[in-house]
């Protein structure tokens, strides 16, 4: 080996190491903690935007972080996990608003994402839920690749470090593959868990939901959030279903909040969601359990919350 070869190899190894550090999945959580600042000020812990439309609320919220570039770097792959649980139309607000999903996909691509995937493990039949919720169409319009979540062969067995009950589970391969993981649930009433927002939405990256119910729902919701912390959580609180959730029924009551909540802290965003639903974070066991596992802070007094109106 001559000197030139040695230097070449050294450079290559260095680049590979740097790339590994950059692409390491664990590092997403680090970025999430310290995103680049927008407008010279520190990044907030949580942003809530009221008024306007789905797309303009998202744009405004991201501006507080200096844009989507704070979360998505050029050439990275992104997986977006909306709530597409039910074959229900957007007016029922049982699934994440399709316009919000579309704008989110566009934001990721504008930030230079190499690929944006969208999937959910629907409760109702997968293709009908994708179609009826209109998320499939809107996400594709935005430039995303919509991936089925109803094949067991797409799920990989993993161990969950720090889990209390759900130590092993099967998660969707995209959660393992993507560089950036964005959780974009809809906030609504839930007959079993009381409320479904950011934490509950991560149950659907897991294959065997039945096991989650039988082993204690609150702990399992907290545990399913431990495997991979989302880079970003965005809660659609535009039309909030107050009763008859999660599926939504003809008699369901709604609250037109016209709000979007955005945070890197999944516990904080659920605490705020609880307040939005007219309840207290203490009403939901999984919020406390998530906080206990170090997933975030439920004490809103300790957080830098930006409340913006359009």
């Amino acid at each position: 080996m001559n000197r030139r070869e040695f230097l070449k190899k050294l450079a290559a190894a260095g680049a590979a190491g740097a790339a590994t550090l950059l692409l390491d999945r664990g590092s997403n959580a680090l970025w999430a903690q310290s995103p680049s600042k927008g407008g010279g000020q520190t990044a907030p812990d949580l942003v809530a935007v009221k008024g306007g439309g789905q797309a303009s609320r998202l744009d405004r919220a991201l501006k507080e972080y200096g844009g989507m570039g704070a979360f998505v770097r050029k050439g990275q792959t992104v997986v977006i996990k909306p709530n597409i649980g039910w074959a229900q139309e957007p007016r029922i607000a049982a699934c994440t608003n399709p316009e919000l999903v579309k704008r989110l996909v566009e934001q990721c691509l504008e930030a230079g994402a190499a690929k944006v995937w969208v999937f959910d493990h629907s409760c109702d039949n997968g293709p009908s839920s994708y179609r009826t919720s209109q998320i499939e169409r809107y996400a594709k319009d935005g430039g995303a690749v919509v991936v089925p979540g109803d094949n067991s062969s797409s799920y990989r067995e993993v161990t969950v470090a720090g889990a209390v009950v759900l130590k092993r589970m099967k998660v969707h391969e995209l959660i393992l593959e993507a560089d950036v993981f964005i959780n974009v649930p809809v906030l609504k009433d839930h007959s079993g868990a009381g409320m479904t927002s950011a934490m509950k939405n991560l149950m659907e990256i897991v294959w065997d939901r039945g096991a989650l119910h039988s082993q204690g729902l609150d702990q399992c919701i907290a545990d399913s959030c431990l495997f991979r912390r989302p880079t970003l959580n965005i809660v659609d609180a535009g039309k909030v279903m107050l009763s008859g959730g999660p599926r939504g029924h003809s008699g369901s009551r709604y609250d037109e909040q016209q709000m979007l909540i955005l945070s890197t802290d999944i516990v904080a965003i659920d605490a705020v969601s609880a307040r939005t639903l007219g309840k207290s974070p203490a009403d939901f066991g999984y919020i406390a359990k998530g906080e206990a596992r170090g997933l975030g802070t439920a004490d809103l007094q300790k957080l830098d919350i930006r409340r913006l109106t359009l």
């Binding site: 809530a48 009381g194 204690g216 008859g244 369901s252 007219g278």
Partner: protein, 523 residues
């Protein structure tokens, strides 16, 4: 006397190959396609199949099938009428199993020969088929019926291969179902390789019916003995083995109109058209004793069918039903089937609804519906549940076993009843939150209300339950579920949920009692 070849043989052969290929492709597509969109061509092909159409027609005559049955009367009579005037073209063009056998013959010997007809076998097969159908066991009868045989093989043997290829999940099915459907098709295709369309001329009840009509059709494929030079070329190409070229004989009951003989006949003695009045009768017109027996048997069978189609059928079902088996727990049959009994009488178990069902809740039965229900679909809530806004199976069914209910009506059709056993529910036994049943319930029949445990506990309203099985499927309790759904022997109509079922304010008020003003941030 020598004649030149008939006009238009080549175009006719091309046309028949084209139609047969289209029918084969469309039928295969209907059974193999995994997407949701139902395509009109495969649906049209399915609706033109003679036995399913006849089943719909019988349903209409019995008064158990409405508009769909009337369409069946039209389709079945059109096929029978056209065949009795113009011959047995159906088997050449519209039968997908015929097309599949034609493909298999390509693998076999090129040189064929005449075979004597199997009159006894044909008569026994046809009568057995009629008796089973009349006894309300259409799915058992359909073990020799071409559309259902084709469907079972494609739905239960080939669709899983497609699913594997695209990494879609395989529904767990008994090996008996896969093997039974596959073995029947294997026998037919092996026979096709070695003996051409033997099945069509010896076992197929559709072939037997149309063969007899062809025998007396004014326009049909004929062999004129005066022009025949007994060269035997026709026998060598006949896949139905029905022409004896040396003896100048054509068995019109077995001819499947492939037209291969017309193309090779050097003299034009084989031709399609009306018989020529001049000259003596062709050999075909002299019935043999065997053929006479067959005709008598067919006549008797036809009379039996006509009789059984009316009250006799119900009587036969009632007397034979218990012998043919009955399940312990009433299984759930699809919406549109009306009742357990009506479904078993009409379903030919072709598997098209199973193949099309998007949620895979429809599964072929092994013994759950009794012996006569082998392969008849039922809703298996261990696999999935019936989707609220879906009518795919109703649109697909070609036999009229499933009535085409409107979506509005299907949503209210009560096919079963849930049974909630609180002592098994984990909210009660483990003091843990769950609510998977209520979460999935489409009508609000299962809801969560805070009970003695201080947790939301399931409550059940029978009157608005439609039996879709969503709660059953979602319930995590094993081995026996806390909520399970049993079928209704006779389907009903569920009540509409009360408009304020989910809007009663007291039940939904916040435990912490926090009031939110609209314009403010709630935190």
């Amino acid at each position: 006397m020598t004649r030149r070849r008939s006009w238009g043989v080549r175009p006719a052969r091309i046309a028949r190959t084209a139609v047969a290929s289209l029918v084969l492709a469309a039928s295969a597509f209907g059974f193999l396609f995994l997407g949701e969109a139902a395509d009109p061509v495969s649906r049209a092909v399915a609706s033109l199949q003679l036995f399913p159409a006849a089943e719909r027609a019988v349903g209409f005559l019995l008064g158990t099938s409405g508009a769909l049955g009337a369409a069946g009367v039209v389709a079945a009579s059109a096929i029978l009428l056209l065949s009795s005037v113009f011959g047995r073209w159906y088997c050449a063009a519209l039968c997908p199993l015929g097309g599949l056998q034609d493909l298999a013959t390509l693998l076999g010997r090129r040189k064929r020969g005449y075979r004597r007809p199997r009159h006894l076998l044909r008569a026994v097969a046809f009568l057995g088929f009629l008796c089973l159908t009349a006894a309300g066991a259409a799915s058992l009868a359909a073990w020799i019926e071409p559309w259902s045989l084709f469907g079972r093989f494609f739905a239960y043997d080939l669709q899983p291969v497609v699913r594997l290829a695209v990494r879609a999940d395989l529904p767990g099915r008994s090996a008996w179902i896969i093997a039974g459907s596959g073995a029947a098709m294997a026998v037919i295709l092996v026979l096709a390789v070695f003996s051409g369309r033997w099945f069509c001329g010896s076992l197929c009840p559709v072939g037997s019916s149309l063969g007899i009509l062809n025998r007396f059709a004014p326009w049909r494929l004929r062999l004129d003995p005066r022009g025949c030079v007994a060269c035997g070329r026709c026998s060598a190409v006949c896949r139905a083995s029905c022409i004896d070229g040396r003896e100048t004989r054509l068995d019109a009951t077995r001819c499947v109109y492939c037209l291969a003989c017309l193309e090779v006949c050097p003299t034009g003695a084989l031709h399609y058209g009306r018989g020529r009045r001049a000259g003596g009768p062709s050999r075909i017109d002299a019935p043999s004793p065997g053929r006479r027996r067959f005709l008598v048997a067919l006549g008797a069978g036809g009379a039996a069918l006509a009789l059984s189609a009316l009250p006799g059928r119900a009587l036969a079902v009632r007397s034979l039903g218990p012998l043919l088996g009955r399940a312990a727990v009433t299984p759930v049959t699809p919406p549109g089937s009306g009742s357990f009994r009506r479904f078993l009488e009409n379903c030919t178990a072709c598997g098209l609804c199973v193949a099309r069902c998007p949620s895979k809740v429809l599964q072929p039965s092994l013994g759950q519906l009794g012996i006569r229900g082998f392969l008849v679909p039922r809703l298996d809530y261990d696999v999935s549940y019936c989707q609220f806004d879906c009518t795919t199976c109703l649109q697909a069914c070609p036999s009229g076993a499933l009535e085409k209910l409107s979506l509005e009506r299907k949503r209210l059709t009560k096919i079963g009843d849930a049974d909630l056993i609180r002592e098994r529910c984990i909210v009660i036994t483990n003091r843990t939150k769950c609510g998977a049943c209520a979460e999935h319930c489409t009508t609000g029949a299962v809801r969560m209300e805070v009970g003695a445990t201080g947790l939301p506990e399931p409550v059940f309203s029978r009157s608005i339950c439609i039996g879709c099985g969503a709660c059953h499927h979602a319930c995590p309790v094993r081995p026996q579920r806390a909520i399970s759904v049993a079928g209704l022997a006779v389907h009903g109509i569920a009540d509409r949920p009360a408009p304020d079922l989910f809007s009663a304010p007291d039940r939904q008020s916040s435990p912490s009692g926090i009031e939110v003003k609209k314009e403010e941030f709630p935190f």
